[in-house]
Symmetry: D2
Subunit: 144 residues, 4 copies
């Protein structure tokens, strides 16, 4: 069982993500790692026109990307920079249409095992109560 | 219960999607509706550099977008151009890393009710056997 | 949008469940509604030999039943005794093998809409930290 | 990668399940393994009064148990009698209320990896078209 305390700082993790996954900033950076804590991480997403859908809501794929990234960041923070951890399962409930505001993804790890890590992510519109999207996900962790 | 036969042609549906969701072609069109059938639809995704991840695999969010679009197309084809149908749930199992090849999303509707439509999508690398990602999803259908 | 405060008391809800779903007590009552709160409910499950699996862990179906019941109770408490609310989706992550102890299912509603209600349930072994099973689920609510 | 051909016969697998999981026959046997094939298995469930819910439909937990068992049988048939394979994830879409008839669970494996096996199960009312419940699930396979 990995430690329940993060072993990477926010700065180290940001540097790792920028180096290994430059594609997530394609078209201009919109995903920002805000905080790392015990079994948790918070990721913020600013929106651009390209993230909007008819009616001015933020697209589902933008939220799914945010959830996946928040979960990945939370896991790496606790197991170290293992680029090859891979998502095996993601489940989403879309609860409310997100208005055009920045989105906050709050990730909480539910399990941090030797082979699998599982977490949930609640996505909020910044400054608003009420979850707009809830996700759960599993990562498979390579042998170390 | 809606008809089990599509009521929109592929051409009408493409025109509808292009008009209502131009954002899905942002950065150059990569998602193409290939076929509509009874309770089914097939969507093809060409990849660009922006869809790749380290190791040359196609990103999870690209596949999630493909699955959501294939399901949306299959539903609209059978209920007509209801822009306001919204995804309420999506679940993904990521099974193999997709090599850099076009992806095919085969959608099959499991239920086409008055309020909810449910389907599954199997995503393949073009010309390869073996599902790379499997999705199930639910759309809520507005009252008509 | 339904009220965020329960409109049924715990006693009324227990009486309703006992009357409408006597089958859940088949073989001797093991599921007990412990508490109702704003957008929440807590259900307790005592185990019998019939709930055990090799190694002395409590079976998956027992936990799935507990989660479904906790979600149903939380929803009914807020919308009133609508026997015909039906589960449309349930997703489970099994995180740890539950030892032979009573299980506690803590349900929190994420959305209480006119047509759909969505919630999550965290299941714990009584007196232990660490979620053994996490569930999310959706109920379809009949028109009233 | 395990073989895509089953390595246990139906008879051996039935004997293994009866010996290791006698609890699934608690109250009288209702789950029957009908067939094993390449990456597939079919399980049949007869119903008793204890499986019914108001309105005469078969309960959700009965269907969830059927899906989990069908998936477990399909996996064991291909990897051999590994009692300790454990479910890590199950997702269900409940599509139609099953009338009081025997249920058939058709499992198809989507992935049979070294550490994880993933499959889907379509549940039908015997002699009827139309999926009543669709499930996907993941098992973690112990090192051998």
């Amino acid at each position: 069982m990995a430690s329940q305390q993060p072993i990477m700082t926010r700065e180290d993790l940001i540097a790792f993500l920028d180096r290994e996954f430059p594609q997530i900033h394609e078209g201009g950076q919109t995903y920002f790692l805000e905080e790392i804590g015990p079994l948790s991480a918070r990721m913020r997403m600013e929106y651009r026109d390209r993230h909007l859908r008819p009616g001015g809501t933020i697209s589902g794929p933008s939220m799914m990307t945010l959830a996946d990234l928040a979960l990945y960041a939370a896991i790496l923070a606790h197991i170290g920079p293992v680029a090859l951890a891979v998502t095996t399962n993601l489940s989403f409930n879309f609860l409310r249409k997100p208005e055009p505001r920045a989105l906050i993804g709050e990730c909480r790890l539910l399990k941090l095992g030797k082979r699998l890590a599982v977490g949930e992510v609640s996505i909020f519109s910044e400054g608003r109560a009420g979850v707009v999207c809830h996700a759960t996900g599993t990562y498979s962790i390579p042998e170390r």
